[in-house]
């Protein structure tokens, strides 16, 4: 029979053992930690957008939709272009009709419930177009929140969705601060830009990059110091979107403005 002293001793040992997490017993391996920090892959795809060059033709959106079988008429798109018109009164008007699938063909700015708004040319302080797509973040919050391991990052940094494994809970759609994810209209799984992983793996460029007539979109390998995109990112003034979220986005913007969110 166990006496009280014995019982208290054993209870303390069991309770102490329970509060030590399993990970604390893992042997510390500095080499593995280093590999996880910087990655040992020779390739890390990054994207570069030059806002000065974009004319809002939307050919990138068209090419993306066809290349990746994104439903043409459903109001979903993996990449889109936003128009920013800043008036001399300090007002910023933003729109992206159908994600700029058909480009920007009118001066009327779609302000949703407030209707179409037309700004007189002499009232425009500045106007520009901003292409948007998945940032393929170094710390992708959308991947962290997936409860089933259906979305993940490859060693090249591309964030993908396993269509057979996704349960359609929508956590990732909510988790992305950039709003790049949506539900596939027919498959009912999470959908997003793959950076045209199937093209990059064959030495081609993303469909939107090939479609852009003005060179506003470029894709490159940040681990290759000779890559022209890497040279621009490392030597010129580039910006990222929503840096304060700590997601380390890997889509860099040249000529970004403070109005761009």
């Amino acid at each position: 029979m166990m006496n009280r002293r014995e019982f208290c001793k054993k209870a303390c040992i069991v309770a102490g053992g329970l509060i030590i997490p399993l990970s604390a017993l893992e042997v510390f391996n500095p080499r593995r930690l280093l590999a996880e920090k910087d990655g040992n892959s020779k390739v890390r795809w990054v994207f570069l957008v030059d806002i000065h060059k974009c004319v809002g033709c939307g050919l990138c959106v068209k090419a993306c939709k066809i290349e990746n079988d994104v439903d043409w008429d459903a109001n979903v798109t993996r990449t889109w272009v936003e128009r920013y018109v800043v008036t001399k009164g300090g007002q910023t008007l933003i729109d992206s009709p159908k994600g700029a699938r058909d480009g920007f063909i009118t001066q009327k700015i779609d302000q949703a419930s407030q209707g179409l708004k037309e700004v007189k040319p002499e009232e425009i302080a500045k106007a520009f177009f901003v292409p948007k797509l998945c940032n393929h973040c170094e710390n992708p919050p959308c991947v962290q929140v997936c409860p089933v391991g259906a979305t993940y990052q490859t060693q090249e940094g591309v964030v993908l969705v396993d269509r057979t494994w996704c349960i359609g809970c929508g956590y990732c759609v909510m988790g992305c601060p950039y709003g790049v994810r949506y539900f596939h209209p027919t498959l009912h799984v999470a959908e997003k830009c793959t950076l045209c992983y199937h093209r990059l793996c064959q030495g081609m460029k993303s469909a939107c990059v090939d479609a852009c007539p003005f060179g506003a979109r470029r894709v490159g390998n940040i681990r290759d110091p000779e890559d022209p995109v890497t040279k621009i990112i490392t030597t010129e003034q580039v910006n990222v979107l929503k840096e304060e979220f700590g997601t380390k986005p890997q889509c860099f913007y040249l000529g970004s403005s403070m109005e761009v969110k």
Partner: protein, 162 residues
């Protein structure tokens, strides 16, 4: 110990065993933690290969010139030089095998993507020759008067007002 103590324990063991067996059957063998660690790399490895096999529709822009060098020379000496062929001629797929010919987009909507005038001085768009699509021959196709391969000067310009 009495039988009534063991019985629920057997049931619990059977449930746990059942869960383990179902899990083994349902979870693919290659499901695990890969390069990006547990937080970002927990996935089914074979899915990467599935995405890599996704069919390519748009071929590299340079590929058209291999069979159509004269068309390539023509467009390269025009203001439209930077526009990839497939933007207007449609995705290549497996042309010339399948499809044998491409469907050219001659629609007005394609041209006004760039040529609908927008008064945005700071952008390249403001410098592109533009029209107001609502007043500039709204019913006509642009290709009736303008040749996309050599839009300047408008050689093909005809009287379409009548």
């Amino acid at each position: 110990m009495k039988n009534h103590v063991w019985r629920p324990l057997y049931i619990v063991l059977a449930i746990v065993g059942g869960i383990i067996i179902t899990r083994t059957l349902l979870v693919p063998n290659d499901f695990g933690v890969y390069e990006r660690g547990y937080m970002y790399g927990w996935h089914r490895k074979s899915n990467e290969a599935e995405w890599r096999k996704y069919p390519i529709k748009y071929k590299s822009p340079q590929i058209c010139a291999e069979c159509h060098p004269e068309k390539d020379r023509e467009i390269k000496s025009s203001p439209h030089a930077s526009i990839s062929c497939q933007n207007c001629h449609g995705p290549n797929y497996n042309h010339p095998d399948d499809p044998q010919g491409l469907t050219i987009d001659r629609s007005r909507g394609l041209c006004i993507r760039c040529h609908a005038h927008l008064p945005y001085k700071g952008t390249l768009r403001g410098g592109i020759p533009g029209i107001n699509p609502e007043t500039h021959y709204p019913q006509e196709q642009c290709v009736m008067c303008h040749i996309p391969h050599s839009p300047k000067p408008m050689i093909q310009k005809r009287e379409v007002k009548s």
